[in-house]
Symmetry: C2
């Protein structure tokens, strides 16, 4: 070994993830990345190969961060549904005010990526599926402890949670209506009596 990288890879990943999260994959230019990281193009290309390669690493970086956040929420709550609720509340209503974007970076990627960027699209789909699997795991814990009935379809319920989370984040970006989102989280995790009384379809 004759020489080692001088930049802090973790810090670079953080900066770059924030940029992509804010502006999306296509609208973030390599000049933007150079400026944010204070690296010359050659250094970036030596370390990450291409803009796509860097974004692939960003997707992993983001997903791992989110999974750790979920883990922490579940660790802080005895009741499994309470932990999931805390995660929803955290992501939707208590997010760092200077977070790059209301949306999920993975959902944003799913939205903008084309079939022509196959590798990125595939990785994004896989990471979303993995996150869904985490939901499923905690739902199965909840049925095991009796929080949910034995008959619970954990796969379906996990999918419904993902649909809700992605939908709510998009809704938040579209309307900035935080109190509505709060009500919707409430209904999502509340017993059936209350939710019928306040007007859910079922």
């Amino acid at each position: 070994m004759a020489n080692t990288a001088k930049f802090d890879r973790q810090k670079v990943m953080d900066k770059v993830t924030r940029l992509f999260w804010q502006k999306g994959f296509h609208s973030t230019s390599t000049r933007d990345l150079q400026q944010a990281t204070n690296l010359r193009p050659g250094s970036i290309y030596a370390a990450f190969g291409s803009k796509s390669g860097l974004f692939e690493e960003v997707l992993d970086f983001y997903a791992q961060n989110r999974n750790e956040l979920l883990e922490r929420c579940m660790a802080g709550e005895e009741v499994r549904l309470g932990g999931l609720r805390a995660f929803f509340h955290l992501i939707l209503l208590e997010e760092d005010p200077d977070a790059p974007n209301e949306l999920c970076l993975l959902a944003k990627a799913i939205s903008e990526l084309d079939e022509s960027e196959e590798a990125l699209l595939k990785k994004t789909r896989a990471l979303l599926a993995a996150h869904g699997a985490r939901f499923r795991h905690y739902i199965e814990e909840a049925t095991a402890t009796g929080e949910l009935p034995e008959s619970t379809d954990s796969i379906l319920l996990a999918q419904q949670l993902q649909v809700q989370l992605i939908g709510l984040r998009t809704f938040l970006r579209a309307t900035d209506n935080r109190s509505a989102v709060e009500q919707m989280i409430e209904q999502l995790f509340n017993p059936v009596v209350k939710s019928v009384a306040s007007g859910k379809i079922h």
Copy 2:
């Protein structure tokens, strides 16, 4: 008047909307638009002013199309909730197989547009709000006819439908899991007994 446009504006709008719907605003180049419409740049700029101006018109065009689709679904069903259900089924599961994208064009725009494209973002938000207002209208009809309890919060319920629709479409693009989407539509519009038995949270 000395000369009139030779191209069919409706057909151009259709082609262009499909293109933006497929590739998004930023990734659709003016060259793409020229090729799809078989128009020279001057003609496009004379008719629409700019790429942004054209996209603004596309947003209106798409939203009107979707509203007409909803109208038709509601006209074809006596039961209001049945009409809404038919709309969900149509959009999510019976869409033209060569539709440009599983996602809602408006949701895609919300996702990719930045604060720096204020006019487009504002228009997109307004069109989504208008569509939500249509949902609300039909929900109020449903409470008037007794399909839903008097206590129904029509604003909140309309917002929940929008969250579900956007979330489901993103989920569909992420997983291509049509049977799961079918189940989720089922639960969304089914009475409470069934939905508890099959594992909803409430």
